[in-house]
Amino acid sequence: MNQGAEKLRCTKEPYIEVNGHQRIESIRFSVHSGDDIRKQAEVQVWKNVIYDVNIKPAPDGLLDLRMGPPNRNFTCATCHGNFTECPGHFGWLKLTLPVFNVGYFNSILNILKCICKACGRILLLESERRIFLKTMRKPRADPTQKDHLLKKIRQKCGSECLHCGYKNGVVKKLGSSLTIVEDFTRKIDGSMHEFRSALSHLKDGASFQLIHVLRPLKVLALFKRMLDQDCELLNLNDRPEKLIITDIAVPPSPIRPSVIMDAGMSMENDITIILKGIVNTNSILREDLEGAAPLFKCLECWDLLQVQVAEYINSEAPCVPDNKNRGLIQRLKGKQGRFRGNLSGKRVEFTGRTVISPDPNLKITEVAIPTVMAQILTYPERVYRHNIEKLRQCVRNGRFKYPGANFAVLSSGSTMDLKFEGRKNVANDLKYGDIVQRHLEDGDVVLFNRQPSLHRMSLMCHRARIMPWKTLRFNESVCNPYNADFDGDEMNLHVPQTEEARTEALTLMGVQNNLCTPKNGEILVASTQDFLTSSFLITRKDAFYDRASFALLCSYMGDGMESIDLPAPALIKPVELWTGKQLFNVLVRPNASTRVFLNLTVKEKCFSKPQNLSETMCPRDGFVYFRNSELICGQLGKATLGNGSKDGLFSVLLRDYNAYAAASCMGRLAKLSARWIGNHGFSIGIDDVQPGERLIQQNKRTIDDGNRECLDFIAKYNKGELTLETGCDAAQTLELKIHDVLNKIRSAAGNVCMNELHWRNSPLIMSQCGSKGSPINISQMIALVGQQSVGGRRAPNGFIDRALPHFPINSKTPSAKGFVANSFYTGLTATEFFFHTMAGREGLVDTAVKTAETGYMSRRLVKGMEDISLHYDLTVRDASGAIAQFLYGDDGLDPAKMEGKEGSPLNFDQLYMKVMATCPHRENDSLSPAEILQTLDKRFSRCDMAPEGGCSSEFKQKLSDFIQKRIVTLQQTRQALQLDENPAINKGCCKRETISTRISGISAKQLEVFLETCISRYYLKKLEAGAAIGVIGAQSIGEPGTQMTLKTFHFAGVASMNITLGVPRIKEIINAAKNISTPVIKTQLLSSSEALSARIVKGCLEKTTLGEVSKCIKIVLKPSQTYISVVLDMERIESLQMRISSESVRFAILNHPRIGLKPEHVITMSSHKLKISMPLVHKDQLFPLHSMNTLLPKVIVKGISTVKRAVIKKDKELYSLFVEGTNYLAVMGTPGVDASKTTTNHVIEVCQTLGIEAARQTIINEIKFTMDGHGMSIDIRHMKLLADLMTYKGEVLGMTRFGLTKMKNSVLMLASFEKTSEHLFNGAYSGRDDHIEGVSERIIMGIPMQLGTGILKVRQRVQDLTELKYGPDPIIS
């Protein structure tokens, strides 16, 4: 139509998908044959000389110039390009004799196992062959199924060929060398002797061999004879002879550059060195063969060639003697290899990195970039009418003066370097449409990042601010998402180079759009450290400011540039004084034109509820209440201003208003606090940790009390009077009790410190407001350091029966086992110091080990979940379109936007409060309970509240529950004020009526506003299509792992039962481990109130051996017969309610797998006596009897063998059982156990017993339990997604290399994960197709991925647009 139309011009060509025929649809992996190699090659390499005398690459040598230039000094002889231009050309090398390819060695072995070594046909019955072929040809079968089938075929293959009758031997590998042999030793039959005797008259009879070597030449011949159908049956995509190397492709010289050193020496690449060896050996072999050298010498040479070719491909193969050279596989493998180092992650330009430092004067969204850096990082700006003067100035300034430019790309196509003179001319000639690579300036969009990039907030988009000096600076409020501090951390900076990239970065990665973490919706960018301290001090109840200082403080927060409405002073007479809280009113709402009405309540750390009064009257001022942007009461601390809360000030601002409101408020707070604390001063000194007289005395008392208590326990223990805890022995009980007491001492000392210290004490202030430190830290400095523990126990015995030689043997006193009674102020004694180092070292080792472990876990999780995204039909799918969830998290909501506790979308209380405050009552327009319900029902009947409309029933239920609660309060108020139910009747101006309205009435307008806000906000929280929730989920689970400390968990009430938690447990769950370290089955009893039944069930579960319940097991030797007599201890059995009789014991003995007695040998004499005689096969009776005698006590007569022990837990007169061990099914089947309420923490066992859905639920529950155990809240949606992904294939797949190969079928993705070469070789063997759909594959191929903004595929058919006609239709057409 209009061909000459101007294309949209961008600074950099945006990625435009080429239409139709040029798109890479898939990559097929296959094996290169010798013919292919020859066809591709430019040159045949056969000379073993690399350089000739003139230090020029020798023709036909390994660096022949026809294969491309080996370094900068040469040009290509084929394409005449130089080192940077020529991509290189292949050569080829003909091998005299074929050799095996190490990568396919196992495949070759497996094929040989299945075919006849005489005729090359498959060793299967014709009928079987047909069936297998049919299944193998199924188009739907995925690679894992095919592998499975292949294994089955291999087992089915016989030894005798049905076509030629040849009897095949066993094919196997000979040791670690690359030799395949056919072994006939097992096939010896009668004819063998005959044959041997026939040969015996020959002198050299030994030459008859049972083991044949299958040399590559023979295998090649065999493979060539194979039928195509047989190949298909063996899942071979191609002809098998390609698996054997006959020709080697010599890689182009540019990928194995040669460095010329002075004095005519050259450094060759590893590959060249290996190839040189091959060329050498090859020529020697050829000469040997032609010159008729002895056979053994030829074979030796052939073997050497085989090894060298193997080294070329994989230098780490076991057959290669020394692997100092890097083979081809080594180039691909590992973190620095091609896949992970160059294809999945690439080096980029326009980046910077320096040390970071704080600057509270910057906005939250800004980053200060040093001028030196800004002069190197540039942005290509296109010249247009409005910026031409600015850019001219930039060009004139050139490279070395700050607001300058480095290059100018003129529309003529030439690039001008502005380093040199003549800039003025360039500037004057600047035209619209030219591009100037100008220096960074204020407001440019940059990406800012700190490693380790554990979650998406580790890479955010800031606005640049060019500043002097040499560090990157940003507001301290943004430390949290990066996990940065200023002790020398460095951070990275990237500059996006196109407008498209800038826009996308700003909207998706901007700091203001990432204030909340998608982990659980908590705010992450929030005030820290000093900001909290100063806010805390400013809002103290007794902080008063006169007019001058109040006005000064007001000017601090807006740089004196903002218009501020000065509020009326709180104290008018005798002097005008403003309080610090009023300063915060100004901070939140500086002037009347700022329409921010903040309403929130938060309980701070020091909150204690006053009796019979409203919470606001807390004597310590710990209840924060903002009403319409006025701070009513409360001293602000971490709960209100800090990160990690959902109903803090900034969260509420963000949810109720917008990100800008929150960000600007944060900025004002940062400026105010930084300046205020700079004037006020805040420091810590030795006097801050000097305890007063009273403190010393109180501490001494607590320590003495604790010590005495411990000594009492020890004395009791020594006498054996200690009452045992359930499931513990005496020593364990003692440890438990002492541990308890000592821990109490420390927390008691902490409390004393918190109460006794003066309020101006700096550590106290910091711990109270939550900026740094805990009461424990304070008590460690001032009062005592406390118990040091190693591995969760008191200090272990480093010497015989004692921890240190300073203490008596077997001493269990607190001080002998690592209790430090001194504080850091008083100083530790020598032994205390030693114990302290033990605990300190454990911490250090732990963190070091954990970082590596969690990093790997995160990597695996991300690799497994990277391609999961939400689609437009609300389903969650992977890249190939397989559905993982029908509706994300069962409601399709964004975890980052959740306001309520436990991932509920809204915090109704806060919202209700806001509506009530911002939308006040009119006179007496309160609704009656009936009217409220009526309005609610009416609203609920609208379509957007129905499940079809996209509203989850859970949300609807919660909303209606909340309204019900309000109605109940209303009724209570009216009752208390002695008013009747319905206010409509006496609508007069009764005083009480008015009061009740003001206390808890709802007007029609308020209710409407409330409901509308709730519902509309609910819909705003829906996740957008394309969201990469897979990666977000993986990061949300992986990132908290780094914060977890080693910790085991005690069951409440059952002190002795420990459960692994922390990283090891998460790892177990994610790996879907078959053996977990602490399997526990929780059971409920059918009659849970009876202690007796609990004990009976316990007896049934715990394994009881015969030795434990018998009085004696002895051998009886009588002349008539010999036997073993077993007498059961009936008293003991009765007392333990075990219900064991001689009959059940007999049954148990007969069923024992290792005893193997027949029923007639075990005879019950009476109810408690058994006689076991031995079968009379052996002449000697005594030895079997003795061995039986040692075996018998170990026979399990009752209980489940895999159960270690069962512990009864008593909880409010209700008994339940904790069973340590496995075999879920047997526990559920035990009489007395309520099977429907029995759970276990063993995922695999749940899957085997109850099925895949139960396993999914168990995964969710277990991850949640573990995370909760560490006080970490993670949105349930992430865990659901992970669990779904681990189970959606129908079996529990771990996030390991084994599980991932079953989950994904992209070769490239698997190759970039682990076992690179294996996946590539397997892919080539079976001719796998990679459709390049997933994230890894697309990154490797350099194509935008199909999630996030890449999910869109908008096409417009321009031609088909109908032309609009104005005017009447023509009469004659």
Binding site: L566, A568, A570, L577, M617, D621, A976, K991
Partner: protein, 147 residues
């Protein structure tokens, strides 16, 4: 003329019932003579020390202007004559909560009124009839004079 919302004479019964938490501010507990109101009030004791047993008049008004013109909410410069002239201690704040007595009361329920003077809190508890003048978010002046 100014319409006073509440006026009564109180006697201080306790100072800092929960212990002294702040240097310059103490919480006093007082009881009134006329309406038998119970009051808790945070007072700047540095400027206006109150001791147990002392009596004072307390007035709550919605404006300080003697002619009764409503308060603007913002501070006005100038030394006009005002209601404050007759009092020793004047605070300005906002009523933020009205509730019935938290404890389950019998027949005569009491109503609690909460006011915040820039973080210095006041609780006034008494018969519902006294509370009718007050409404939420009302700007209030508290004026005190020792008797």
């Amino acid at each position: 003329m100014v319409e006073l919302l509440f006026e009564d004479i109180f006697t201080v019964s306790r100072v800092d019932p929960d212990g002294k938490k702040f240097d310059k501010v103490s919480r006093i507990e007082a009881r009134s003579e006329q309406f038998d109101m119970y009051m808790q009030l945070d007072v700047n004791n540095e400027l206006y020390p109150l001791l147990v047993g002392e009596k004072f008049t307390m007035v709550l008004a919605s404006t300080l202007n003697l002619d009764g013109t409503p308060d603007s909410g913002y501070f006005m410069q100038g030394q006009k004559k005002s209601l404050a002239d007759n009092f020793e201690y004047v605070m300005h704040g906002k009523l933020y909560k009205i509730s019935e007595e938290s404890a389950a009361g019998g027949t005569n329920v009491k109503v609690e009124i909460y006011v915040s003077f820039g973080g210095l809190l006041m609780l006034l508890k008494g018969d519902p009839s006294n509370a009718a003048n007050f409404e939420l978010d009302q700007r209030l002046f508290l004026l005190m004079r020792k008797v």
